[in-house]
Amino acid sequence: MEPAKTVHANQQPIVQVKKRKKLTTDRWKSILFLTPSVILIAIFVYGFIGWTGYVSVSNWNTIVPDFSFAGMKNYHYLLNDFRFQADLRNTLAFTVLFIALVIILGMGLAILLDQKLVRGESIFRNIFFFPMALSFVVTGVVWQWILNPSTGINLFLKNFGIEPKWYTDTNILAGFEWGKIEFGLPVAIIAVVIAAVWQMTGFALAMYLAGLRGIPDDIREAARMDGCTEFQLYRKIIIPLLKPITVSVIIMMAHISLKIFDLIYAMTGPGANFVTDVPGVNMFETTFRGNYYANGAAIAIIMLLSVAIFIVPYLWSNRKGES
């Protein structure tokens, strides 16, 4: 027994050492593979965010950099600024309308296309999908022309006695005094929402179609056997089953809408009275047209925080779900 034990004890470490050594070199190689990206992300994402944060509390509001400490002065200025207050109102209105419409249209069209009745389904799908391949700049240029109040769609609507002013309208619906601005739904925002919905509905549609295809047919059959009407089937069973997709769509659309810039910049710009201005456009003009770098940095940090509120919990729960 004694010798056997010794042999056993001797063998084990040899094997282990050999195995561990091989694993270690591969382990090192794998970490080396990841290193360039990790360093780049550490510097260009996290480091630069920190740097922007630093600029946002500095006095750099001319063309010459000035990193003297300004405290919260720039944030204080922004929160009391007519333009930035308008941005917050517009972003809120845009985000709510945009997400709601993308979900309603995306889910609705997905359910319609998923009916076995439709022939030529792929033609419709492609018609609804293709705007996603376009640039927001192209979308902006084209919709600017279509929703131009003196032309475009109004040439038809005139026959019915309605002539909306679209993105040139300066009215605020359901408005009330709030800070320096009139809070409410700016009518001009609706025009921009139409263009954005046109572009992004395909995204939600693709997600919902994939989701619907993933629901096994026997669930529908069983519900029908139990006397469910089609309407009840969707309301009580299918739509609740699609909830994880709805959450993903909301997150993806929310982060797009909170940082939206190119569509609005190409289509309307800030607009009269800043009715279509958003933080992305404001930041761009403040920083690169006006040379108010510290103010621009503060806008950027507020944008980042607004996105992070959605994204961090989402990434965190996804990470947990996988381990």
Binding site: V45, S135, V138, W145, S150, L155, A206, K259, L304, E322
Partner: protein, 273 residues
Amino acid sequence: MGISKIRRPLLYIVLILFSFFFLIPVYVMLVTSVKPLDEVNLADMWSLPSALDFSSYSEAFGKLAPNLLNSFYLVIPATIISALLGAMNGYVISKWKFKGSEIVFTGILFGMFIPYQSILIPLIQFLREMGLYNTITGLVFVHVVYGIPITTLMFRNFYANIPDEMIESAKMDGAGFLGIFRYMILPLSISGFVVVGIWQFTNIWNEFLFAATITQSDQQPIMVALQNLSGSQIVQWNVQMAGALIAALPTLLVYIFLGKYFVRGLLAGSVKG
């Protein structure tokens, strides 16, 4: 059966109505772009042209051709490099998990959601220091760096479908980290590269914020040039629409011929793989 008789036409009516909504911009773009200038006015916007006039295309192309070329110089290397980095990262994160690799992955992933405004000021300072400001090379670098999160995510989700047993048995046969990547993973990655490549090509081609802030005049990619064209004082709508179509054509063609992969990329990029 009786219900479907009513439902089917109703379904088609709704779908066709929505198709109109989605095709309006295409109609406007096409019709306006082939009109002679004197027919491009507010009242005749929706009517068909009396004769086909392609002069707006030659004018738009003449103005945009250098920028179109810039965009190709930008998109091709940026797509290839960011896809390769994504494949390397995705391989490690899905097949060589280590303690904390999920946290590293989440940390990388966060980079795809940030508003790029929040890194833009230091980025431009950095590019100026490096002499890369107002160069296509600088723009390639920027798109490679900020493309890492999405390409890593897509490849990680793609490699998650390759069974771990295959990797294990390759290890048993004595293959190492690089050997497995080179001789097993890469040959299996072709459709992954197609999906990621199309996605990056489309996104970088269409990108505007970096392009508008990092480059000027003769270095500008197509989207900035298009925006300048439409922002100019003389509004020649036919030239603008022709320009928009020219700018959109490469990504539209990719979508038309490889749309399946484009949609697959979209689904792969929405976090839950």
